[in-house]
Structures are given as C-alpha cells and as structure tokens.
C-alpha cells in the first residue's frame, strides 16, 4: 500500500473498456465498491494486479486500470501464487465465481488457503453458472431446476466459508453486492489482512438466478435474516431484538426479551481454533440468520515471505551462488 498522499479517486481505477455485464447484474456494484476501496487504501495502480479465472465475474480485471490477467477456468489462484512468490511487492487480488472457485477450481482454492500468501480472493457467489447461461453451480441449493437439471440438482451444495475454514484460511469473510457500506468495509479489511483473505460476496445474477439472495437483500426482511459479526460482540440481529445462544454446540435463536445479552454467543474472529468460525458458517437461512462480516482473522507465517526468506538465508549462509564453483565442485579431469 502506498504511503504517499493518495490523489486517486475511485474512477481513476477504472479502465477505458466498456463494461459488458447484463444491465442490473450484481457485479456492477462490486466493481464500484472495489474502486472505492482501492482509492481508500491509496492503492497504486501499477503495483496492483487483478487475476481472474473464467466466468461473468472473471471479466472483472478488464475493467480495472491496473495490471490484470483474465486467465483460464478455475486456475486463478495458481497464477496468483506464482506471481506473488516471485513478486511479493505487488498487491494481488484474485476474482472468481462460485463455479470457477469451487467446481473446476476447488483444488487450487484449498491450496491457496492453506499456503496463506499475502493476497486477497473475492468469490462472486451467484449460485449459478452465469457465463455459460444457467447451469447449477456447487453452491446451488439441492433440487435446483436449471438447464442441466430439469428434474432438480442432486449434489448437496458446498458452503464456501466452511470449505475455506477447513482449508486453514487465516481470513474469512462474507458480504453482499448491494450492501455498499458493508462490502466496502469488508474488502478494506481483507486488503489490510496480512495473509490470504477470502471474501464471499452474495451476488445477484438477475438473468439466470434472479432473487437468490433476496432474503439477505430486501429491506423488509434482511434484518431478520442476517446477523452482522463483530469481533468481541454478541450475535444479535432483527434490530437488536433477537440473538444467538449456544446450547452445548447447538446454536439457537433467542429473543432478547427473555435472554440477557451476556448469555449470547460472543464473536471472536481471532480465536486460535477455527471451530467457532466453522460453527458460525453452518448458520444458514431459513433456519438461522446468516452471518456476514469477518468470520476469522488470525496471523500465520506468509508463504511468499517465507519462500523469499529461504533464499535470503541461503545466501547469508553460503554466499551468492557461483556457477564456476558449483561446476568445478565434483571429480574433474583435464584434457590438454
């Protein structure tokens, strides 16, 4: 991040390319918030790189006036890993979709999480394959009727937050495309985290899966269906009228008329064990309000730093490598 005085406005982070998402697509809002975030943190465009896979969401890099790569389907984490290992000085953002990250790209996603490079990954979850025009994705609910599943999908959906946590992620958060302030704050926190930060964003695909997240977006219901995680604070929602309490390991919704706040579950994003964060990831609508915000934020050694430290250590111990010495180091003989 730049330490100079920032003079760039959000619009300065946009490229000259025409944005080609469907009118009304949730991707627009995420793009707008991202520009705000970069402006807010004073990102230098020439030091910033966006890397995406393939999908509607993965068009993202074209619209940013930074360095960027629109790669191949599912593999963006691997490109980012190679780049970041050899260029730890760059600010790297990975942009992906639910199909890109969790279907074809599931393996790279796991390994990105566990390695903990200092970069950010944002998953635009619209629970559908947008670009290929509407097949179900790994986050589509059971029974989804789509082009490829006229009688309903049979694969139990993956929970991106649970998967990230199980893959040893150090920063895990969730936000919503149109929840402008929350999204901006969440992306900002992601950018500040040292290590890999993973943000799932509920994104509306108004063409192939319209309204999938209405329960979390519509004014009249969202307060009942969301619980905003705040470090050290109890889990309350519905405008502070209800809360979540643990009964053993079983969460339950309680009314704050009847239960004192102190009895509620308190969030601890920096807990050493991911068990709490995992438990929170299992709260799903409609049984529970769904948590948004930061599930987990802990520190762990950073892969790209360490790979470069090993190089420095080796140089310190053995001196910079000399090829002539290396070659002559074994049994040699001379021909005259």
């Amino acid at each position: 991040m730049s330490t100079e005085l920032n003079v760039l406005k959000p619009a300065d982070y946009g490229s000259d390319q025409e944005v080609r998402w469907c009118p009304g697509c949730g991707d627009y809002s995420i793009l707008a918030q991202m520009k705000k975030v970069l402006s807010g943190i004073g990102a230098q465009p020439e030091k910033t790189v966006f890397i995406s896979g393939i999908g509607c969401s993965s068009r993202f890099p074209y619209y940013m006036n930074t360095y960027g790569m629109h790669s191949i389907h599912g593999r963006a984490p691997a490109f980012a890993t190679g780049l970041k290992c050899s260029r730890p000085d760059l600010d790297v953002w990975v942009i992906t979709g639910d199909g890109d990250a969790l279907s074809i790209g599931g393996n790279h996603f796991l390994h990105l999480m566990r390695r903990n490079l200092n970069l950010n990954i944002v998953l635009f979850n619209n629970s559908i394959y947008g670009l290929t025009k509407g097949q179900y994705s790994p986050t589509s609910p059971l029974g989804s009727v789509t082009k490829s599943t006229p009688r309903g999908s049979l694969d139990f959906p993956l929970n991106p937050i649970s998967v990230a946590l199980a893959a040893e992620a150090t920063f895990v958060a969730r936000s919503i495309d149109t929840n402008i302030q929350h999204l901006t704050e969440t992306l900002t926190r992601a950018s500040q985290h040292r290590g890999t930060s993973f943000v799932e964003v509920y994104q509306n695909c108004n063409v192939f899966n319209d309204g999938a997240w209405d329960y979390a977006k519509e004014k009249d219901v969202k307060d009942d269906n969301l619980v905003e995680l705040q470090h050290g604070k109890p889990l309350t929602f519905a405008k502070g009228t209800r809360g979540i309490r643990l009964n053993g390991l079983q969460p339950e919704v309680v009314s704050l008329d009847q239960v004192p706040t102190d009895d509620l579950l308190f969030h601890d994003e920096s807990a050493d064990s991911p068990a709490l964060a995992y438990l929170l990831s299992r709260l799903r609508y409609p049984q529970f309000p769904e948590p948004i915000g930061v599930f987990r934020a802990v520190q762990r050694p950073i892969y790209d730093e360490q790979i470069n430290q090993q190089v420095e250590q080796a140089v310190a111990e053995r001196g910079p490598g000399s090829l002539n010495k290396l070659f002559a180091g074994g049994d040699t003989w001379t021909v005259n």
């Binding site: 020439e46 890099p61 006036n65 629109h70 190679g82 090829l323 049994d331 003989w333 021909v335």
Partner: protein, 528 residues
C-alpha cells in the same frame, strides 16, 4: 590408507586394443550395481575415454530380493572416439543373479563376455527368478563367452580377518566384481581407492574389506585361466578443457541456473513430482543461494499456471514434468501462447501411453509437444541430444523464449535424464549473455500497446510495477496492437498468422542444422 594396495599397475596378460566397449552391470537392487557403475564411469572418464552411461532402476521402490522386478542395472559405454549414446548391443554383461541374467541377456552381443556370480544360481535363486531350468546348463548361454565366478565365496575369503559378519562380507561383492571388471578393461583402481577411503572414513573395517574385495577381483582376473587377455580403450581426443561427468537432469538444472544468471532473471520453478523429472526439482531446490525459488505445486496444472503468473511478473518461469503431467498442461500452455509470455516447459519423457512404464525411457511425446493444444497454437519445441547437451539446450530455450516472448517446450527423456557423460566445464563469464529489455514507465499521455511487435514479431515484456504500462491480458482473442478483446474474424486470422510466423522466425536466430552420424539414411532427425 591402512593397507598397501597390491595390484600391479597393469596386467601382465596380453592386451587387446579396441576402440570402444559397452558393458552392463546387473544385479539385485541391494547388490550395489549403481555404485559399481558410477565408479566405472568416473574411472573411465578420468582415463580420458568419452563415456556415456545409463542406469536402469527397478519399477518398485523395494522389490523382493532376487526377483526379476528387483533387478537394477547400470550400463557404461566408453570409447576412444566421440560417442553419443550409452550403446546398444553389449560387449560384456556382468550378472549377479539369475533374475538379472535372464532380464538382460537379450542385449548381449553374440560372443560377448558374460560374467556370472555362480554362487547365486541355487534352486531358490532360480525360483525367485521364475526359472524352471538353470540357464547355465539348458543351452541358453551357448552363444556367449561365459565366465562363472563364485564371487560370493571368493569375496568372503578375501575379507576374512577384517572382522565383518557374513552379511557384511557379502555386501562387498560388488567391489570384487569391480576389481574384476577393472582388470578386464585395464582401468586404474586409484580413484576408486580414494572413493573407498572417503566413503568409509571412520569405518576402517569396511574400508579395508572393500579394498580387499577389489583387490581379490582384480587378482582373480589376472590369475584365472578364464581370461586370455585384457582390453584396452585408448583415450579419446576430446576438446581440451576441464571435464566432469554430468547426468542429464543435473545438467538441465545447472543450465537453467546459468540462464537465470545470464539473463539476470529470478528462476521460478513450479513443478509437481513425477518420475523421471522429479530430480530436476530436487536439484534446483538445493540452490536457493542462486536465487532459485522452487514451488511444489498441488498438481501439474497449478504448476504451469504458477509459472505463467511468475512470467507475468518478470521471472524466469520453468515447469518440469513427464508425459502424464505434460498432458495436463495443454490448456495452460494454450493460454501462455495467447498471452505471449516467455517460459519453459520441460518434458522428461518416459514410456507411455498413460502411466505406461514410468521408470523406463521412451521418446514418444513429440507430436503431443507440437500439437497437444486446441486451436492454432504453435510453440517452439527443442530436444536435448545427450546428458551434457541439456545444459546448452536449457540456455538456448530460455534465449528463444525471451527473444520471442513465447513458451518453449524442451524435450528430454529418462535415458538422457539419468544417463551421464563427460562435460567440458564452460567458463561462465564467456557464455553469451541473454539480453532482455523491459519497457520503462510511460510518458504522460503516451498509450502503451502491449501487443505491438518488433521486427521478429515479439511483443514487449512490460512488468507490473511499471507506471503507465498497466494492461490486462487474457485468453480471449486480442486486437492487434492494443491487446483488447476482439471477436473480429479478420483480426483473428491476422493474429493466428502472426503467432505462427513468430514461431517460424525462431529459425532466423538459431545456428544452422548439423548432421550427426552417417551422411545418408532412411530417416533424418534434424537438430540445430
């Protein structure tokens, strides 16, 4: 050295001069054939021969003793002329047990010398080798000059008094065999004596026993009636210089490190282990003080993608694999062709198709290298011709990749990878530098064109971090010059032609082809 080594400087028997010898040493994995082979190689090289070698490991990690699956071999070809391969037909075969004999006999020339450890041909040994009859008596050896040597017993006798257990004594029999082979081919034992000294330093009883075994083998040759003469291979006329033996994978790793220094580029290897390519990863991971970063990826797809990412950032991206892993890289390579970034993909070929024969060699991936990608997707393909050549080819491949902004495929194989030959040490300072120019920051108002090309059609390598050169690249077809997405069919045709022409342009900068071997023949394999 605790005892004086008593072999004469050279044999008293008649010497037969020959221009080259190919010998293969075969036994059980536990018999120390690899060590024997390596010693014979070094000694032959030190005596001035040109040498080419090939080890042959069993497919299993630890196959049962005495079985065919457990046979381990090492072939050495030494010559007074320049040679190019570890040899085809064998002049001599040393077989430590029946399994080793039957699995290798087919390669021994008629009238070739066949030395057997006759102590290992008991009923149980034949059974382990799945033989119903003793090959020594059933006529299968009639075409060869068979010399049966009770090596186990002779070794036991030789090492008596060193205090070794029978088991330990038996482990010395490869040194007995070595002594015999050294005698037969007039090799100098001194380097091996030095090796014993170094290897068993602190274990003087073992050092002593192995020396005794070596001596016993040598003396056996000199005294037995079996051998009428020894063979002598004169030194080869090699170019003057300092030499060492190198194995293909080692030379490849070193060539990459040299290319990295010659071009002032960080070497980033993204690789997933696979036989016979893993040793390049192992070798490179040792040299972090050369600035090498090695990344063991989760799979071969991640490996190729990681080096594309590294190349985008300005590093020297290299990935190594073999057939099954290379087959997985096709999609990534297609992207690299479209992005026009420099990087190296190295295929150490092995027996296929599919998992095939992982520990055996084959050169059957050429067409996949040329065509194994969808769409019109051309890429320069280079092949190493020998272990030492790997060093030069690695540098040449990197030079082409960066000059033309293209991925380059480099082919080697299990034979070259694990084979060894003498390598004349280059003077690193005199190696031609690899010049790479990155465009600098843009002037205000200047627009940067990431797909604008130079005379040979290469595009600029603009690095993240450079102000004003911000640009986006991807797998969709690009507009000429700007690199923006374009679905225009005319532009597409133009770009297809341009990418093809660019690869053809490589011919402009490489040395003319040279013919190796006979001037005439049915098939020409051209090489630059």
């Amino acid at each position: 050295m605790s005892t004086q080594f008593e072999v004469q400087a050279s044999s008293q028997k008649p010497v037969q001069s020959v221009s080259e010898i190919t010998v293969r040493l075969v036994g059980d994995s536990g018999d120390g054939m690899q060590l024997l082979g390596t010693q014979l190689t070094n000694t032959s090289a030190l005596s001035g021969n040109d040498v080419a070698t090939f080890p042959d490991f069993p497919a299993e990690i630890r196959a049962p003793r005495g079985t065919r699956a457990g046979v381990s071999g090492f072939q050495v070809h030494f010559s007074s002329e320049e040679i190019f391969t570890p040899g085809d037909g064998l002049d001599a075969l040393v077989a430590m047990n029946p399994a080793a004999l039957v699995t290798n006999l087919g390669d021994l020339r008629k009238q070739g010398i066949l030395i057997l450890n006759s102590d290992n041909f008991e009923a149980k040994d034949l059974k382990l080798a799945k033989l119903n009859q003793d090959p020594r008596t059933d006529g299968s050896l009639k075409d060869y000059r068979v010399i049966e040597v009770p090596m186990t017993n002779l070794t036991r006798t030789a090492v008596e008094g060193t205090g070794l257990s029978v088991k330990q004594a038996d482990q010395c029999k490869n040194f007995f065999a070595m002594g015999l082979v050294y005698w037969l081919f007039g090799r100098d034992v001194k380097p091996t004596l030095r090796f014993i000294e170094a290897k068993f330093s602190g274990k003087q009883d073992l050092a002593e026993a192995n020396r005794k075994a070596l001596q016993a083998g040598w003396s056996y040759g000199e005294t037995t009636e079996h051998f009428a003469s020894t063979f002598q291979v004169a030194p080869a006329r090699l170019e003057p210089g300092t030499y060492r033996n190198v194995m293909g994978n080692q030379a490849l790793a070193w060539g990459l490190m040299a290319a990295s220094q010659l071009s002032h580029k960080q070497l980033f290897l993204g690789s997933y282990p696979i036989t016979p390519a893993s040793d390049v990863l192992h070798e490179l991971s040792k040299y972090k003080n050369f600035g090498v970063r090695t990344f063991q990826a989760e799979d071969e797809i991640a490996a190729i993608c990681s080096i594309i990412g590294a190349a985008f950032g300005g590093a020297m991206g290299v990935t190594t694999s073999s057939g099954p892993g290379i087959a997985l890289k096709g999609e990534g390579l297609g992207l690299a062709v479209m992005l026009e970034l420099p990087l190296l993909v190295i295929n150490i070929q092995r027996g296929g198709p599919s998992t095939g024969l992982p520990t055996k060699t084959e050169q059957a991936d050429l067409l996949m290298a040329l065509y194994g990608r969808h769409g019109e997707c051309p890429m320069p393909v280079l092949a190493a011709r020998s272990p030492a050549d790997c060093f030069d080819v690695a540098i040449e491949a990197w030079r082409i990749a960066t000059r033309f902004m293209t991925p380059v495929m480099l082919l080697s194989d299990g034979y070259i990878a694990n084979g060894a030959e003498p390598w004349r040490l280059p003077n690193v300072e005199s190696l031609e530098k690899i010049e790479i120019v990155h465009p600098g920051p843009a002037e205000p108002g200047q627009t940067f064109l990431p797909y604008q090309r130079d005379a040979l059609l290469a595009r600029p390598w603009a690095l993240p971090g450079t102000k004003g050169l911000e640009h986006r690249i991807g797998g969709l077809e690009k507009e000429d010059g700007t690199g923006n997405i374009s679905y225009d069919p005319k532009n597409h045709q133009h770009m297809v032609n341009t990418r093809a022409k660019k690869v053809q342009n490589v011919a402009e900068v490489i040395a003319p082809l040279s013919v190796e071997g006979p001037e005439q023949g049915d098939l020409l394999v051209a090489e630059s």
